[in-house]
């Protein structure tokens, strides 16, 4: 790590980035958005979120050489990397950003040109397409010094990160989480803890920093606190009317994914929670006339967020729960400073996608009851096979047990070539007719 690069990074962090943010903010104030009659007032802290995420992506381009850089999967135990002061980039979060800006097909096709199949996950295609072509709406992403992946979310990440590792000739660390068919076994925990112990010398070598157990315990504490605050943010949607919708939560998810273990994520969720509690006290809802409450299953369709939030809000429908946003609050209570490695193994291997369908069924049943859900929208995702498998059975069983109405729609989260507007609209409208809204 060179001194000049460090000085440049620190300058941009303390002065350059804040100045840029201020400039953007002052420009933004000139164009107030017209209020929508179906949606509640916009969240005051949305500006702060935009600032945090823009700053994160903006600063990343100065991080190379100043800090060790790691590309990390959304379900990887990033807390360990924080001890070594890695600057972390989340390709999945970047994929969502590309999707929201409708750049999915363009960047995916860069990977397809190299022979990657269109049936491959579109996050992987966007990331590989970006690696090959440099195309990104985020300006520029730093090339990593380390790739860090955990297979608790899917198996695709293994091969995707292996490709990157081979292409750039950089080290890859894989955290292997055994799948939970029933309860987690002590041997599995032992296996995962051994992996952490093996990782530490490698991480010391790549980052040039020494491992500090005190620091690690502190980071685990922050991570647990931020995730539980995120859990409380989601729990505000149990109120009627819900102060935010899942479409908002999809956006506000970014810090818990990308900045987990950093104090900034915790600070942000405290601000968000305060604002939401205030909205609950005043009876302000995300949808002006909330008549029915829905649950979402699967990742967000990033290029349709705005359109769909209006489509549902116009009919007084609000999404109040999602298995996806819940995944970052679901198992984090396991984290414990006193036994950081064992607790981290539990927290990361017990997430919904690394668990049996029976677990998912029970989780959804519980959420439907807790959030007083009237209908279920199931997205069968072209990209995410582990998330989409078993959805028809879940739907049937939930219908039988709780009498809940549901609809299955098909799309991809970023690649809108796999989305058909008319077909989806017909399915959704038939669902609205069944809900009588």
């Amino acid at each position: 790590m060179s001194f000049a690069q460090k000085a440049r990074y620190n300058f941009m962090k303390d002065l350059g980035a804040p100045a840029l943010m201020w400039l953007r903010q002052s420009q933004r104030k000139k164009r107030p958005r017209k209020p929508n009659p179906y949606l509640g007032p916009p969240l005051k802290c949305a500006g702060r979120l935009r600032e945090i995420m823009t700053r994160h992506y903006y600063l990343s381009r100065f991080s190379k050489g100043a800090k060790p850089v790691a590309w990390v999967t959304s379900g990887a135990p990033v807390e360990l990397l924080r001890v070594f002061d890695f600057y972390t980039i989340y390709p999945e979060n970047h994929g969502a950003l590309c999707g929201a800006q409708k750049k999915g097909p363009e960047i995916c096709s860069e990977a397809e040109k190299k022979g990657y199949h269109p049936d491959l996950c579109s996050y992987a295609r966007i990331d590989l397409g970006h690696a090959f072509s440099g195309k990104t709406p985020a300006g520029r992403l730093p090339r990593p010094d380390l790739l860090f992946c955990a297979n608790n979310i899917c198996q695709t990440v293994l091969y995707w990160y292996k490709e990157l590792s081979y292409y750039w000739n950089i080290p890859l660390i894989i955290f292997d989480t055994p799948y939970n068919f029933q309860d987690i076994r002590e041997k599995d925990i032992e296996y995962m803890v051994c992996q952490f112990e093996e990782m530490i010398p490698e991480l010391e070598r790549i980052s040039g920093c020494k491992y500090s157990h005190d620091r690690f315990m502190k980071i685990i504490g922050i991570a647990r606190e931020s995730a539980s605050t995120w859990g409380r943010v989601l729990a505000t949607m149990k109120h009627r009317p819900a102060p935010i919708s899942i479409f908002d939560a999809f956006v506000h998810l970014a810090p818990i994914v990308s900045l987990r273990g950093l104090p900034i994520a915790l600070d942000y969720y405290r601000i968000l929670l305060d604002e939401l509690e205030e909205r609950v006290a005043k009876g302000i809802g995300a949808v002006t006339n909330e008549s029915k409450r829905l649950m979402w299953d699967n990742i967000a369709v990033w290029f349709k967020l705005r359109d769909w939030s209006l489509l549902f809000a116009e009919r007084g429908l609000n999404f109040v729960a999602a298995t996806y946003t819940n995944a970052w609050a679901e198992t984090i209570h396991y984290l414990d400073e006193m036994s950081p490695f064992e607790s981290m193994a539990r927290a990361y291997s017990l997430v919904v996608l690394n668990n049996s369908l029976n677990y998912r069924l029970k989780l959804m049943e519980q959420m439907i009851r807790d959030y007083q859900v009237d209908g279920l929208v199931i997205l069968s995702l072209r990209s995410c096979k582990p998330y989409s498998v078993g959805q028809y059975d879940l739907r049937r069983l939930l219908g039988e047990r709780l009498g809940i109405k549901s609809v299955v729609i098909e799309s991809d989260m970023t690649d809108f070539r796999a989305y058909s507007e008319e077909q989806t609209r017909t399915r959704l409208e038939a669902f609205f007719e069944a809900l009588e809204v």
Binding site: V408, E410, Q423, A430, E433
Partner: protein
């Protein structure tokens, strides 16, 4: 009394318009839910023109004018393009309603239209309980059969009959319409009996729909709607799979529009 009724003074009339990808159908009902007339036209490139033409035809057959219609419901893919409809309802609810009206014991509706196919489960009142549709692909739809009939230069009417004359079935492995067409052309080049190939094509459609039927489950009597219900080849194969006969209206193509007209009547009475 008869004269009074004839002049349409006491009667209210309802129209259902179904704008599909291939055809546009209109059904006119009177207040007793008796069908006065219907029309079927090709949709073509201009939705509005097709609707005007189809509605004009149906009205003239019923001896009515447009201002005598009390309530119009639009359905089908083009439903959003009609500016004068009083309500837009999805074809899923419409097919469920008409199937229940025509055959009250129906609990499962199989609708195979031009660009999509649906299996709908309804309750004893005709309300939709569950449904499934084909995904973003034309396999298992009317368009698939239309393209294949084109490859044989056979009319759609004869296509289904030819399937029934087959001695054996040549399986078609490709589900993609374009690839299946190439497969058919190479089978023709190998001098395979065309009836056997046609039977294979019909099986391919039925197998695709059968998967959807199993997703929703077979309950009660089964009614088939949509243009493909006119194809005996498909119907016979589907009945074999189901192990029971299927209800089919003499004009299955108008079931979407009929459902829309029935719902027009219901909504008119509710609003009143």
């Amino acid at each position: 009394m008869r004269l009074w009724r004839f002049k349409g003074l006491s009667m209210t009339y309802f129209a259902g318009i179904d704008i599909g990808s291939l055809t546009t159908e209109v059904v006119i009902l009177d207040s007793n839910a008796d069908m006065l007339s219907y029309s079927i036209n090709l949709t073509g490139a201009d939705c509005n023109e097709a609707v005007d033409q189809a509605l004009g035809q149906a009205l003239s057959r019923a001896g009515l004018s447009r201002d005598q219609l009390s309530f119009i419901v639009a359905t089908g893919y083009g439903r959003v393009t009609i500016p004068f409809s009083d309500k837009k309802i999805t074809e899923i609810s419409c097919h469920g309603t008409s199937a229940h009206h025509l055959f009250p014991d129906t609990e499962t509706v199989i609708d195979i239209g031009g660009q999509d196919s649906k299996v709908i489960r309804i309750d004893k009142e005709g309300k939709v309980l569950d449904f499934t549709m084909n995904d973003k692909c034309a396999a298992g739809t009317g368009r698939f059969l239309e393209v294949m009939a084109g490859a044989f230069r056979v009319s759609l009417e004869d296509f289904g009959q030819l399937s029934l004359k087959a001695e054996r079935e040549i399986p078609i492995s490709s589900v993609c319409t374009v690839f299946a067409e190439s497969e058919v052309i190479s089978l023709i080049a190998q001098n395979q009996a065309r009836e056997d190939i046609i039977r294979g094509l019909h099986s391919s459609v039925v197998n695709r729909i059968w998967n959807m039927v199993q997703t929703v489950g077979v309950h009660g009597a089964v009614t088939m709607s949509g243009g493909v219900a006119k194809n005996r080849g498909v119907v016979v194969l589907m009945e074999e799979k189901l192990g029971k006969p299927i209800h089919i209206h003499t004009e299955p193509q108008i079931m979407g529009a009929l459902g829309a007209a029935l719902l027009a009547k219901r909504h008119f009475l509710q609003e009143k």
